[in-house]
Symmetry: C2
Subunit: 253 residues, 2 copies
């Protein structure tokens, strides 16, 4: 059976895309056929996997609008077993166009049903907002992973996010479970990082993954080469942390 | 006369709020009466100035919905000459509610007209998206400052942002000018930072502020004390960089 994960947090720049790309890549290398679905108009997960969003004839936008099938846009990546349903800037239009369309929150869910059996894992990367694109992601998945940057501002949005999750569970997707929170960009030299981790563990006992992703420049360099960390520098601290996270995610299933 | 700046970039976590709060604080200390308008539902600029968004009876949401006047929500901050029109989580509702309201893109602009003469500077902090809240910010301002994180992913969204700016200029606000791009979170130890700066300067000759904001843990600690950097650690590298930026912004007017 297929496990569908959604990586969401409306706070910007907390490591949603970096977690999607690198978690996905380690799962694929472990032998799990994995599909990454990019629903962020910025298309960072798409380019982080080596695909140029600007050169795409069709993307997830065309699928959400009913013009293409999901299967017809899926591309291979440089990683064996890892595939991507890419996004491009045209997706910006969907945020407003979807508002007045039928089944506006469940379009992605219905589309994923058509290809679910083909993959072990599906991972959805969301934009930094709680709008209709993220709602489509939250409605399509069974498991939610929340990246939390080890910074003060990142704490503030968590309660909002959870309120929105409760609404989604009540009205759109009763199956949605919080799989866990992954602490990202941890800088062990600063005390603020540790304070944030303690605070999150206090509010979410047993939900914080033990793998803590360190701030590592190798992780931020890899996308400029269109490679996940597994291909750019598999032995770096950031790579090992995401490998450990992949093990935890597999084990929790 | 009043100068209205909007700080926008749909890429998340690039330093929009940090720039708004700290640029505003230095301008106020220089003697310019400054109002910060927070239109991000996360309310980070609000809390970064020491105001608890959760405790607010009324906020910018009530003003956009026509229930309160802008003047009635403005609060003092710990900085002389610096005021804030705060946001709270209730603003999340505005993104969908505004879609079907009259003058949905120009509500903030009309509201700011009523108080404009009271301030030298008005600075608007936007959420990480190109939705109706950010459109209200772009439509209300004469000058746009784009924070650009010194990271690869941050480059990707710039062309999208500029396309949206062109649309805004064409249909909503012909006065909107790109005042400049400010490079943020620069880590001089990494080569990616320098590469991104070169790339941005190539695409935007004469538009990149010479003040480059370094990555500095003091900047990320200050919000946890509800203080701008001017009050938390005015002599830190991050503080000095924002002070220099304030001089450049004043000089460009
Ligand atoms: N552990 C890390 N160490 C160093 N840099 C990181 C790390 N994780 C992510 N980054 C970098 O930080 C920036 C933000 O990360 P990323 O883009 O993955 O966040 P996001 O939540 O997807 O952002 P958005 O909200 O815009 O979608 C990127 O430039 C990325 O390369
Ligand atoms: N120069 C800097 N050095 C170190 N940390 C910084 C710097 N600028 C910002 N930060 C920290 O990085 C994180 C992101 O910055 P900030 O919240 O200002 O970005 P933003 O663009 O407003 O994010 P969002 O897209 O969510 O609104 C915050 O935790 C902030 O404290
Ligand atoms: Mg992202
Ligand atoms: Mg912000």
């Amino acid at each position: 059976s297929t496990r569908t994960l959604v990586i969401a947090n409306q706070k910007g720049g907390v490591g949603k895309t970096t977690t999607t790309v690198n978690l996905g890549s380690w799962l694929a290398l472990d032998g799990y056929k994995t599909l990454i679905v990019d629903i962020d108009p910025q298309g960072n997960a798409t380019s982080g996997l080596g695909v140029d969003p600007k050169g795409l004839e069709k993307c997830i936008y065309d699928v959400l609008m009913g013009k293409e099938t999901l299967g017809s846009i899926v591309l291979e990546t440089i990683v064996d077993n890892l595939y991507v349903a890419p996004a491009s800037f045209r997706l910006v239009g969907a945020q407003v166009e979807l508002v007045s369309m039928m089944s506006r929150e469940t379009r992605l869910k219905n589309l994923l049903e058509t290809i679910k059996g083909d993959y072990h894992f599906i991972i959805i990367d969301c934009p930094p907002s709680l709008g209709l694109l993220t709602l489509n992601g939250l409605t399509s998945a069974d498991e939610l992973i929340i990246p939390v940057q080890c910074e003060y501002y990142a704490l503030e949005g968590l309660s909002q996010l959870l309120e929105s999750i409760d609404q989604v569970k009540k009205f759109l997707n009763p199956n949605l479970e919080l799989a866990g929170l992954v602490m990202t960009m941890h800088d062990s030299r600063t005390k603020i990082g540790q304070q944030v981790i303690e605070e999150v563990k206090k509010h979410f006992p047993d939900k914080v993954y033990s793998s803590i992703i360190p701030r590592s420049v190798r992780l931020s360099e890899a996308p400029s080469f269109g490679q996940p960390i597994t291909h750019y520098d598999a032995l770096s601290r950031g790579a090992i942390a995401y490998k450990d996270l992949a093990k935890e995610v597999v084990g929790h299933g």
